[in-house]
Amino acid sequence: MAQWKGWRKVLTVLAFIGPTLIGILIFSIYPILFNTYISLTNRNKFHPNPDCSVGLTGILEPTCWAVFREHASAGIGEPYRLKEPLFGNYADLIGQFFTGPVLLALAKILACFVPLIIAGPINKRLDRQLDRAVQPRMVTLTAIVLGILLAFALNVKDAIALITGSGDFIVVNFSTILYVLICIPLFFVVGLGLALLLNVPDLPGRAFFRVILIVPWAASNVAIMIALVWKFFFQEQGTINQLLALIGLTGRSWLQEPATAWFVIVLANVWMSYPFFMVTILGALQSIPVELYEAAEVDGASWWQRLMSITLPLLRPAIIPIIVLSSITTFQMFGTVWAITGGGPSRGAGTPGATDLVMTYAYKQVFQTQAYARMGAFAIIIFIMLFAAILYSLRISRITKGAYE
C-alpha cells in the first residue's frame, strides 16, 4: 500500500491517525511535559498559583491561555517559580541515596545474592554431565546457605536500616519492590498449581472448576469493590475475627499491625491476579506435546522430575512475559492497597505508612500535602524506571518468542 506519495499520502495518514494523536497529545503527552516542568519549580501548598508572565508557565498552564482565563482560580498565596537549584526536588528525593555509605550498603545486600547467581551456570554445566559427582540440588542449597552466611557476615540488617533511612522515596520504592517480589512468586505458584490441576483430563467437574476459578479475574474489573470486601473481612469487627471467635480464639487487629496488614494486601492481590497466570499457564500446558511425558514415563521419571524437566522449561516462553507484565502492574498497584489499608498503619506523621507503596504514597503527597513539585520529580523518576523495565520486557518477550516458534 505504499505506492502513493506526496500530499495525498500525508493527508490520508493524518486523517487516519490524527484523532488518536490529538487525544494522546492533550491527555497523555501534555501531562508528562507539565509534570516535568513542575518538577523544576517550587510549587506546593504555599505557592500554588501560576505566574502567567513567566515564559514557560504562561505556555504550559492552561488557565493562563486567553481562551480559558475565565476558569482561572483566583487563589491566594504567592505564585510558584523555578526552584533554586533547578534540580532541587530530584536532589531531595534521591540525593541521599547516591552517597558512599548508602551505595556500599546496597552493594552489600546485592553481594548476598552472588552465590545464588553463580549457582545457576554451575548447575547448567552439571546438567550436561551424565555422571554427576554433585547433585545440582546440593549446589543450590550450598548457595543459599552461603548467601545467608554472607548476610550475617556483612551485617545486612544495618545496611537495610541505612538504606531505608535515606529518604521516603527510597523507603517506598524498597517496600514496593518487596511487594512485587512477594506477590509474583505467589501468583505463579498458585496459578501453576491450579493450572496443573485443571489440566488433569478426567478431573470430575473440570469444566465447572475452570469457570469458577476465573471468577476473581472477572471481579477484578470492579477491583475497588472487592478490595472493600477484603477490608471488611479483616476489620477489627470483621468476618475473620468473628470466625476466630467462634472457634474460641481472640482475633487481632489485622490492619493495624504492619506484618498482618502486609499479609492482607498480598492476599487480596493474589486473589485478584492468580487467574491470569492460571489461564495463561493452562493454555501453554495444553500446547506441550504428550509424547514428551510418555517418553519420560517410560524412562521412569517421577511426577516431580517431569514437572521440573519438561513442564517448567517448556512453559518458560509463556510465563516470562506475563511475569514481567504483572510485575509492572503490581508495581503500579494503587486501588486495592488504597482501599484496604490506605497505606497504613501509620508510622508517624509525614513518613510513609507500613503498607505505603509508590502510588499510594504519591497520591497522599499530592492530595493531602499538596507537594506538587516534589511529586512531579517523583513521577518523572518512576516513569524512567518503568519505561526501562518495559523496554527490557519487550526485549525478553521478543527473545522468548523467537525460542518458541
Binding site: T12, F27, G205, A219, M225, Q242, G335
Partner: protein
C-alpha cells in the same frame, strides 16, 4: 506439593510395572500392528486412571481453591440479604449459607439512595468511552498496521513510553486541564479523560489484530481500484469484528470499574458520581450500614461477572489474536 508427589510416584511405579509386563510379552504384537495399536490405546487409557487417594487430594484442592475464589463474592451476596443490624452472624453455618433473606437493603439502595443515578452515570461514561475509543482508535490502528510512514516505529515506542507513565501521577495536570476547559466535575470531562487513557491500549490491541489479517484481500481490492479509505471500511473493518468486540469490552470495563480518576475528577455532587465512587464513599461512611453497600455492590458486581464469564473464552482468544504482548 510433596503430599501430592507421593501417591503419584507409586502410580508411576505401578504403571511402569504394567508397562514392563506389556513389554515382556513376546511377539504377537509385532505380528499384528493394528492389534498392537489397539492395545497401546487401552493401556494408555488405563494409565490415565488415577489412584483414589490422588483423586481425593485433587478434589480437596479444587474445592478449597473454589472456596477461596468465590467466597468474597459469595460473602457480599450473603451480607446483602441480611437485615440492617445483623450484618455479623454468630452462626458458623450463617457464614456460608443464607439462613435468612430479606430484600430490605435492596429496596433502600434502589429507592432511597441514588444508586440508580450512579449506575446510569457509570453506564453513560463507560458506554460513551467505548464508542469514542473505538471510533478514534480503529483507524489509527489500521494506519499503524498497513501504512508505512515516517515516524511509525517511533510512534509505537512513544505509545509504550506514555503507557508507562503512572496514571495516578498525571491526575493533577489532567484535572487542571479539565478545569481550564470547564469539564471538571462533569461527566463529559471524565469521558474525555477515560477515552484518551484507553486509546493507546485500544490502538495497540487492534493493530495487533490487523497485523494478523492477510493483506492479500486488500491488495486485490486495490487492484480493483479501492483507495485506502475504502479498503479500510469495506475490507479490513468487517474482518476485524472479533477484535473490535474484545477491545470494546475492555474499554467498557475500564470505564465501568475505574475508581481513582473518577474520584478526583468528579468528587461531588452526589447525583453526578459514578457507581464506584458513590459506593466507595458509602462503604467508608460509618453512619451507613454495611449491608446497604453490600446490596449496591451485588448489583454492580454480578452483571460484570456474568458478562465477563460469558465472554471469557472470546476474551482469551481475542487477546492472543490481538497480541498485546508486553
Amino acid at each position: 506439593m510433596s503430599r501430592q508427589t507421593k501417591p503419584t510416584v507409586t502410580t508411576v511405579s505401578r504403571q511402569q510395572r504394567k508397562k514392563e509386563e506389556e513389554l515382556s510379552q513376546p511377539a504377537p504384537q509385532a505380528a499384528h500392528p493394528e492389534r498392537f495399536l489397539g492395545e497401546k490405546k487401552s493401556s494408555s487409557a488405563a494409565r490415565r486412571k488415577t489412584k483414589p487417594i490422588t483423586r481425593v487430594f485433587q478434589l480437596v484442592v479444587a474445592i478449597l481453591a473454589t472456596l477461596f475464589a468465590v467466597y468474597p463474592v459469595w460473602f457480599v451476596i450473603l451480607a446483602s440479604g441480611r437485615g440492617s443490624g445483623r450484618l455479623l452472624t454468630f452462626n458458623l453455618a450463617g457464614m456460608f449459607i443464607p439462613l435468612e433473606w430479606t430484600f430490605e437493603n435492596y429496596q433502600i439502595m434502589l429507592f432511597q439512595e441514588p444508586l440508580l443515578t450512579w449506575m446510569r452515570n457509570s453506564l453513560m461514561v463507560a458506554g460513551l468511552t467505548t464508542i469514542a475509543c473505538l471510533c478514534i482508535a480503529t483507524s489509527a490502528a489500521f494506519a499503524f498496521s498497513r501504512m508505512r510512514f515516517y515516524g511509525r516505529e517511533w510512534g509505537l515506542v512513544l505509545f509504550l513510553a506514555i503507557q508507562s507513565f503512572p496514571g495516578v501521577l498525571s491526575l493533577v495536570p489532567v484535572a487542571q486541564l479539565l478545569t481550564a476547559i470547564g469539564g471538571y466535575g462533569k461527566l463529559w470531562g471524565l469521558i474525555m479523560a477515560y477515552t484518551s487513557g484507553t486509546l493507546i491500549f485500544c490502538t495497540m490491541n487492534l493493530k495487533g489484530y490487523f497485523d494478523t489479517i492477510p493483506i492479500d484481500l486488500e491488495e486485490a481490492a486495490m487492484i480493483d481500484g479501492c483507495g485506502p479509505v475504502q479498503s479500510f471500511l469495506l475490507i479490513a473493518l468487517p474482518l476485524a469484528r472479533p477484535a473490535l468486540a474484545v477491545t470494546a469490552l475492555f474499554a467498557f470495563m475500564v470505564g465501568w470499574g475505574e475508581y481513582v480518576l473518577a474520584s478526583v475528577l468528579i468528587p461531588a455532587p452526589p447525583t453526578r458520581l459514578t457507581a464506584m465512587v458513590g459506593l466507595y464513599k458509602m462503604a467508608n461512611d460509618i453512619n451507613i450500614p454495611w449491608g446497604h453497600f453490600a446490596a449496591g455492590a451485588v448489583m454492580i458486581i454480578i452483571p460484570t461477572l456474568l458478562v465477563f464469564l460469558y465472554l471469557q473464552r472470546y476474551l482469551e482468544g481475542g487477546l492472543t489474536l490481538g497480541g498485546v504482548k508486553g
